[in-house]
C-alpha cells in the first residue's frame, strides 16, 4: 500500500472521528463481556467474529495514527498500521457484522460497535474494496433520486398492475386509486421496497382501514448505509424526506425494513413529519378498530423474530406481539427474546452479498432458537430477516414457514 493511499485512508478515518466515535474508541477495557454475544461467533467461534475482535481491528489503526502512544510505543496497545493484510481484516470485521447491536446490550459501557465499524466500512470504500454489489445498489438508488422523472412512467405501469391484485383481494369493482401516487393532501406517505409484496399487502391494509395515503416512488432500503457511505446514506434517505415534504404528509410509514425505519426515525435528525413502521400502524389500526383480524385463526405454533433494527434499536417490541397474539392460537416466545434476541444474520446488507454458506453458519443461533420453540410458522417484520430466515430454513432443512407480519395480517382481515 503506497503512502498516498495511506494518507487518504487516514483522512477518511479522521472524517469519522465524531464525538461518539471518540468515546467508543477510548472506552473499551477489553473486559470480554461481549465476546460471545455475536450470532456469528456463536456459529463460527473465532476471535475475528467476536464484537471486541472486530472493534479492535479499527481501534489498533486508530491508536497507530491518532494516539501518540500508538506512534511511539505501538507495543503498548497493539497499534497497527495500514497495509493490504490489515485491510483484509478490516473487510472481515465490517462485513461479517450485521449491525444488530446485540453486543451493545451486553457492553457495560454501551459501546456501539457497529458505529466503530462504520469507520472500517469507510476505509474499505477509500481502498476500493467495499462489496461491489452494495456500491452498485447504492449508486443506483442515488441515481434514481436524481432522475426520478425518468422512472415515473414505468413505475406507474407496474403499480397499475398491482392495483388489480389489490382490487381482487379486497373484492372491489374498480382498481383505480387503490395505490395512489403523488397524492397531494395525503395524510400518510408509505415507503415500500422493490418487491410487489411490499406494496400489495400494505395497500390492502391501508384501503381496509380507509387511510388517506400515497405510495412513495422510492424504496425504503438504504444501501448507502449498508455499504457504509454516509454521503450516499443521506442522499438515499433525503429522496423520501423531500418527497414527503413536497406532498405535505403528516406521517411517513416505512415498510417492513428495520434499517430503513431506524435511519428515518433516528439518524436523520428532526423531521417535519412523524415516522412510523408499518407494524406500528397496523397495531394502531387494530387498536382503533379501523381493521379487524380473524382472531386465533392460525392454529399451528407460531413464533416472532424481533428484527434487531425494529426491536432493540427502535423499541418496537410490544406491537407485533399484540397483533400476533390476536392471530395465533399458539403464540410462542423465543428464548432469549426482545433486546436479547439473537440476530438472524441477514442485516447490514449481508443478504445482498454472495455469502450464503457464511450466513447459514452464522444463522445457527437463530436456527437453535426456532427449533427450541417448536414453532411451525416464523414471523418477522423485516425484509432482510425474512430472506435470511428463508436461508436458515433451507440451509438447515427446517420444517417451518416464514411469513411477514404485514402479509399475515393482510391475509387474515375480517371482511
Amino acid at each position: 500500500m503506497d503512502n498516498n493511499k495511506i494518507t487518504e485512508l487516514r483522512r477518511l478515518m479522521k472524517s469519522r472521528l465524531n464525538r461518539p466515535m471518540r468515546y467508543y474508541l477510548d472506552l473499551c477495557t477489553r473486559c470480554g463481556l461481549c465476546y460471545d454475544t455475536c450470532h456469528v461467533y456463536y456459529g463460527i467461534p473465532k476471535k475475528e467474529y467476536s464484537p471486541v475482535g472486530r472493534s479492535e481491528v479499527v481501534r489498533r489503526l486508530f491508536k497507530k495514527y491518532f494516539r501518540p502512544s500508538g506512534k511511539l510505543f505501538p507495543y503498548w496497545g497493539d497499534a497497527t498500521g495500514l497495509d493490504d493484510a490489515v485491510m483484509d481484516e478490516v473487510y472481515e470485521a465490517a462485513f461479517s457484522c450485521t449491525g444488530c447491536r446485540r453486543c451493545m446490550v451486553h457492553c457495560p459501557f454501551g459501546i456501539d460497535i457497529p458505529h466503530i465499524l462504520s469507520m472500517a466500512k469507510l476505509l474499505l470504500i477509500g481502498n476500493e474494496t467495499a462489496p461491489e454489489e452494495l456500491v452498485m445498489l447504492a449508486d443506483a438508488a442515488v441515481e434514481k433520486g436524481n432522475s426520478v422523472e425518468f422512472f415515473k412512467d414505468g413505475f406507474k405501469e407496474v403499480i397499475g398492475n398491482l392495483e388489480k391484485e389489490v382490487r381482487q383481494r379486497l373484492g372491489l369493482p374498480l382498481s383505480e386509486g387503490l395505490i395512489p401516487l403523488e397524492k397531494k393532501g395525503a395524510r400518510v406517505l408509505y415507503v415500500g421496497l422493490s418487491g410487489a409484496h411490499s406494496i400489495v399487502h400494505p395497500a390492502v391494509v391501508f384501503n381496509k382501514a380507509g387511510e388517506n395515503w400515497t405510495l412513495s416512488y422510492f424504496e425504503g432500503v438504504n444501501f448507502g448505509a449498508f455499504v457504509g457511505d454516509p454521503g450516499k446514506m443521506e442522499l438515499i434517505a433525503q429522496r423520501v424526506i423531500k418527497e414527503a415534504i413536497e406532498l405535505g404528509v403528516e406521517e411517513v410509514v416505512i415498510v417492513e425494513c428495520g434499517t430503513a425505519y431506524r435511519i428515518m426515525k433516528f439518524l436523520m435528525g428532526k423531521l417535519p413529519f412523524k415516522v412510523s413502521s408499518i407494524v406500528e400502524v397496523i397495531h394502531r389500526y387494530i387498536s382503533e378498530g379501523r381493521i379487524k383480524v380473524k382472531e386465533k385463526v392460525i392454529s399451528e405454533p407460531l413464533t416472532y423474530h424481533d428484527p434487531c433494527q425494529l426491536g432493540r434499536n427502535a423499541g418496537v417490541f410490544d406491537e407485533p406481539r399484540e397483533v400476533l397474539s390476536l392471530l395465533a392460537a399458539d403464540y410462542r416466545e423465543m428464548s432469549p427474546t426482545r433486546e436479547y434476541n439473537w440476530c438472524c444474520g441477514g442485516g447490514g446488507g449481508l443478504v445482498a452479498l454472495d455469502n450464503e454458506e457464511f450466513r447459514i453458519k452464522s444463522g445457527k443461533a437463530k436456527k437453535d432458537q426456532i427449533v427450541a420453540t417448536g414453532a411451525k410458522i416464523v414471523v418477522s417484520a423485516c425484509e432482510n430477516c425474512i430472506m435470511q430466515l428463508g436461508t436458515i430454513q433451507s440451509g438447515y432443512g427446517l420444517d417451518i414457514e416464514v411469513k411477514s407480519l404485514t402479509e399475515l395480517v393482510a391475509e387474515n382481515l375480517v371482511e
Binding site: 477489553r30 473486559c31 423499541g315
Partner: protein, 238 residues
C-alpha cells in the same frame, strides 16, 4: 544518590504525575467534547428507567455484567467499591475531614481489608486474562496496567498492615503522612524524619512510584473508562 532518587519520586514526580493526570484528563475531555456531534441518535431499547436513573444504574451497578458473568461482576463491584474507600482513606491521610468521620474509624480506614480486596480483585482481573478467550483479546496495556496497580497496592497494603508491628519500627505515624501529604498539597513539600528514617521508607517510595506511574497513565489508557463510561451510557439512552 539514593536519597536524591527517593526525593525525586516522593516530591517532583508526584507533582509531575498530578499535572499529567489533570491536564491529560482535560485534554481528552476537550478533544472528545469538541469533536463534531452526529445528528442522529444511537440509543438502545427498552428504557425502563428515566434518563439519569438509567445511566446511574448502568454505570454504577453494571447490570449488563451482572446478567452475563456474575463472578466478574462481583469482583468488579468489590474493586470499584474498595477503590472509593481507598480514595477516602488517602484523603484522610492528607488531613482530618470531619464529614468522613461520621462513622468513627481509625485512619487508614478498613483495617487493611480495603487493600486486600483490591489486590485479590486485581489478581482476578489479571489471571482471567491468562485464559482463552480473554487472552486473545488482551493487549500489553491490559496486563501492564493491572501489574502496575497490583504492585502499587501491594506496597500500599503492606505499609498499612505492617504498621501493626510498631516494635520493629514499621509504624509510620499518621502525623508524618499528614505532614508529607499536606506539604505536597500546600506546595511546601517536606519529608518528615518519621518517613525517611523508617525502615519502610523504601516501601513508601515504591508505593508512591507505582502510584505515580498509574496516575500518569490514567488519562491515556483504558482507565479513561471511569469518565467516558457516563458518556457511553448516556448515548445508549438518547
Amino acid at each position: 544518590m539514593r536519597d536524591a532518587i527517593y526525593y525525586f519520586v516522593m516530591v517532583p514526580m508526584v507533582y509531575g504525575a498530578a499535572a499529567i493526570f489533570i491536564s491529560g484528563l482535560l485534554f481528552k475531555l476537550m478533544v472528545a467534547v469538541f469533536s463534531p456531534g452526529i445528528k442522529g441518535k444511537l440509543g438502545l431499547y427498552p428504557r425502563k428507567l428515566p434518563f439519569i436513573a438509567g445511566v446511574a444504574k448502568d454505570a454504577f451497578l453494571i447490570s449488563s455484567a451482572f446478567k452475563k458473568d456474575k463472578l466478574l461482576w462481583f469482583f468488579v463491584m468489590a474493586f470499584h467499591a474498595s477503590f472509593i474507600l481507598l480514595f477516602l482513606g488517602h484523603l484522610e491521610l492528607i488531613r482530618n475531614f470531619d464529614f468522613l468521620q461520621i462513622i468513627p474509624h481509625n485512619v487508614f480506614l478498613g483495617s487493611g481489608v480495603v487493600g486486600i480486596v483490591l489486590i485479590v480483585a486485581t489478581l482476578y482481573f489479571l489471571f482471567r486474562r491468562f485464559r482463552s478467550p480473554w487472552r486473545e483479546i488482551s493487549v500489553p496495556e491490559d496486563f501492564l496496567l493491572l501489574l502496575t496497580l497490583f504492585v502499587a497496592m501491594l506496597f500500599g497494603s503492606h505499609m498499612h498492615l505492617a504498621a501493626r508491628y510498631g516494635i520493629a519500627g514499621f509504624d509510620i505515624p499518621l502525623e508524618d503522612y499528614r505532614a508529607y501529604l499536606w506539604g505536597l498539597v500546600t506546595l511546601k513539600p517536606v519529608l518528615p524524619d518519621g518517613i525517611t528514617f523508617s525502615p519502610h521508607y523504601i516501601i513508601v517510595v515504591l508505593h508512591v512510584f507505582f502510584a505515580n506511574l498509574f496516575i500518569m497513565l490514567f488519562p491515556f489508557s483504558k482507565m479513561i473508562h471511569s469518565v467516558f463510561a457516563f458518556f457511553g451510557q448516556s448515548l445508549k439512552r438518547k
